[in-house]
């Protein structure tokens, strides 16, 4: 019997030793594999500032990354740094106590003029900031300038009627009007949420707090419009997994997405501000106010890592500095909102101006606003409609979504 014990002991010691070796390393986990070079540039500098090494570990796709991070949180074994989302996603995370309060660093950054108090709110829960900004993006419609010229569209649409007219013209000119991918386990929400918030922005907000059902009149209308758009052949083949393929091969003319995507179009050979420009998506219903979705992705610091090594504060400061923002801009053309840094490309610069001038109602993305437990199920129902855009499927998707939604809020 003693031998069994010795063996068990030995095995356990080996296990623990292996675990110990791993913990020595600081890691940044991210689901944004395509941003790897930019994130690495930021963490290299931050690591140097704090006297540690930070390795970037990518984990895709997004839904799997979230589940993996959930297991890390549940077993109290979170990496020192990890990318996250704002909105409900962040408040759920903060409630577990794994995220470090970054107030002192934000105070400093605001005093230094790197960030504004409004930007601090993007990553705050109950007034305290819990993240470093990695990306601040406006959701706009990218359009291929040549396609618009070919179709005889002089100016980007400003009303829904003009938008539909533009789609028809593009269709007539041989383009698929809209690139609408389903990739990554999240993209189906893009047009769903756009059509809902274009119908009624208040209901859009209400969807995510349980006060508006997923089969009510606003959603019914969104699905009706969505189905009509599919009927008219406005959207690309949902089966394609390369999300930007049809936009960069120029067969599709428009792409509604966050302007962080502009860098990848540029990487594919389209010049920002020349080959493609952007406009704000007009609301579906004339009564609805013009709104824009603002997406903010934070890097969260583990509270445990922070208390174990006070020097990590220097890493945080480095990440919030102008140099980090510039590095992100040059490496991956992503803008983290730093006020001293220049926008990485003409499109992002133009969007900043456009949003400042139009002053639309800023909304948190559906993805961040919806309770994280039902996010995936709801997106799947939207995706099912994109693959099969019939009225029957629309009804089924809506009733499925409402069943999941009701079940969640009832059993809270």
């Amino acid at each position: 019997m003693s031998l069994t014990k010795t063996l068990t002991g030995l095995a356990l010691t080996t296990l623990l030793a292996a675990g110990g070796v791993q913990a020595q390393e600081l890691k940044l986990y991210s689901d944004k594999a395509e941003w790897h070079p930019g994130i690495e540039a930021v963490t290299d500098a931050a690591g140097e500032a704090a006297g540690v090494t930070i390795n970037v570990q990518d984990l895709t796709p997004t839904d799997k990354y979230q589940a993996f991070m959930q297991t890390s949180i549940a077993s109290n074994n979170v990496p020192a740094f990890f990318t996250w989302w704002n909105g409900n996603q962040l408040s759920d995370l903060v409630a577990t106590g794994v995220a470090a309060d970054l107030s002192p660093y934000w105070d400093q950054a605001i005093a230094d003029g790197d960030y504004s108090a409004a930007q601090r709110e993007l990553v705050s829960v109950d007034g305290k900031p819990y993240g470093v900004l990695l990306n601040v993006a406006n959701w706009v419609v990218f359009y291929n300038t040549k396609a618009f010229a070919d179709a005889g569209i002089d100016a980007p649409p400003t009303t829904w009627e003009e938008f539909i007219a533009a789609c028809d013209k593009l269709k007539a000119a041989g383009y698929t009007p809209i690139n609408a991918p389903t990739s990554g386990g999240w993209m189906p929400f893009i047009w769903f949420s756009q059509l809902v918030l274009g119908t009624n922005p208040d209901d859009f907000v209400g969807l995510t707090d349980g006060s508006v059902p997923y089969d009510g009149p606003t959603v019914q209308n969104a699905f009706k419009v969505w189905g009509e758009m599919y009927d008219k052949g406005y959207f690309t083949d949902p089966r394609e997994q390369d999300d930007q393929k049809f936009f960069v091969d120029k067969s599709a003319a428009m792409f509604l997405i966050g302007d962080w995507h502009s860098g990848t179009f540029a990487a594919a050979g389209m010049e920002p501000g020349v080959d493609f420009k952007t406009f704000l998506m007009p609301p579906v219903s004339p009564d609805a106010e013009q709104s824009v979705i603002v997406e903010a992705s934070p890097i969260v610091v583990s509270a445990q890592a922070m208390s174990a090594n006070a020097d990590l504060g220097k890493a945080v400061q480095s990440m919030m500095g102008e140099a980090a923002s510039t590095a992100l801009g040059t490496e991956i053309q992503v803008y983290n909102g730093n006020l001293k840094a220049a926008a990485p490309n003409a499109t992002i610069e133009a969007n900043k101006k456009m949003v400042a001038e139009a002053n639309p109602r800023a909304l948190v993305r559906w993805w961040e606003a919806v309770p994280s437990q039902i996010q995936g199920d709801l997106v799947a129902a939207m995706g099912a409609f994109m693959f099969n855009p019939t009225p029957d499927q629309a009804q089924k998707s809506m009733s499925d979504m409402q069943a999941i939604n009701a079940d969640y809020w009832a059993n809270l």
């Binding site: 839904d63 799997k64 959930q70 549940a74 437990q373 693959f387």
Partner: protein, 314 residues
């Protein structure tokens, strides 16, 4: 025997002998422990403990952002039928099990009978067996493009008919499960055939010869002689395929990677999706328990049938 011995020996002697015997047995047992220890420890720690925890977990509320300490009673099991997906997944699993029993066996038997008496039999056998050596992940990746929008099947049909054929296969709910089952059959028909050929080869020739001499038809020979003798092999194949039908995961996960309803394609996928994409660990564990219960029940039933059949033959 023991009683007759005790007449001759005093109780003390017996006691000593017995204890010596016991000590010797004990000694051997201790040595034996050393031999079985690694296997027992590994299996207990990494397989059996997780199963126990899985069952416990299925009675908790554990999911994203909530603690493990909350007991949920039967809530996870009640939820199975409250949401629309479990029953869909269950239905597809049933389809999988039936498909995995019927198709590989039917095609495998057909192939075995076809290939039994032809030249280059070994070459044909190896060709049909080859997909089984490849990983389901690799097979799934290839077949993804076989079914893709401008993939092998659509192109072939377009080429043959001169039309622009573009069917959804693994992207539409009507055909997705059957399409993936077809790929599964493609991969497993070879091993099924080889096992059946081994069964056929081991078959005694006498009854066959006798039947031929008696002028029995091919069908009669198959029905009354080959089939009963092949039944044990058929059962082995069935047991293997039933387990695969219940638990196939890789093929589905890879081939349906862009199908939005993929989680309902089978219970194995549903369990994985709920646990590892959706973070509903306790609920996922409950699905795993249901799946485990079904696999064990069906396998046990088949094992009982198998032992009856073998007894009746021997």
């Amino acid at each position: 025997m023991a009683s007759s011995a005790s007449h001759m020996l005093s109780p003390d002697v017996i006691k000593v002998a017995r204890s010596r015997e016991r000590r010797a047995a004990w000694q051997q047992t201790r040595v034996a422990w050393l031999f079985i220890a690694p296997a027992v420890i590994m299996v207990t720690v990494f397989l059996l403990t997780p199963v126990v925890f899985n069952v416990i977990l299925s009675f908790t509320k554990w999911r994203k952002f909530t603690g493990l300490d909350q007991f949920a009673g039967m809530a996870n099991y009640q939820r199975l039928f409250a949401v629309p997906y479990f029953s869909e997944a269950l239905g597809n699993t049933a389809l999988w099990v039936v498909g995995a029993i019927v198709f590989p066996l039917a095609f495998g038997l057909g192939l075995a009978l076809l290939l039994r008496n032809i030249p280059f039999q070994e070459t044909f056998k190896s060709l049909y067996f080859l997909p089984k050596v490849m990983a389901p992940t690799a097979v799934g990746a290839i077949w993804y493009y076989v079914y893709a929008p401008h993939g092998v099947i659509n192109s072939a049909v377009s080429g043959l008919t001169g039309s622009d054929f573009d069917f959804g296969w693994i992207f539409v709910p009507e055909t997705v499960t059957l399409s993936i089952i077809f790929t599964f059959v493609w991969q497993t028909v070879g091993i099924t055939m080889v096992l059946l050929l081994l069964g056929l080869a081991a078959m005694p020739r006498d009854p066959l010869e006798a039947a031929r001499v008696d002028g029995a038809s091919q069908w009669q020979i198959f029905r009354h002689i080959i089939w009963p003798l092949l039944l044990p092999t058929v059962l082995v194949v069935t047991i293997l395929n039933v387990a695969a039908g219940f638990t196939t995961f890789d093929l589905l996960w890879v081939m349906a990677s862009s199908y939005p309803g993929k989680r309902t394609l089978s219970l194995a996928v549903y369990m994985y999706y709920e646990s590892f994409s959706n973070g509903a660990w306790a609920y996922g564990s409950a699905v795993a328990v249901v799946l485990g219960g079904m696999v064990i029940t069906v396998s046990a039933a088949l094992a009982i049938i198998q032992s009856r059949v073998e007894k009746s033959i021997r």
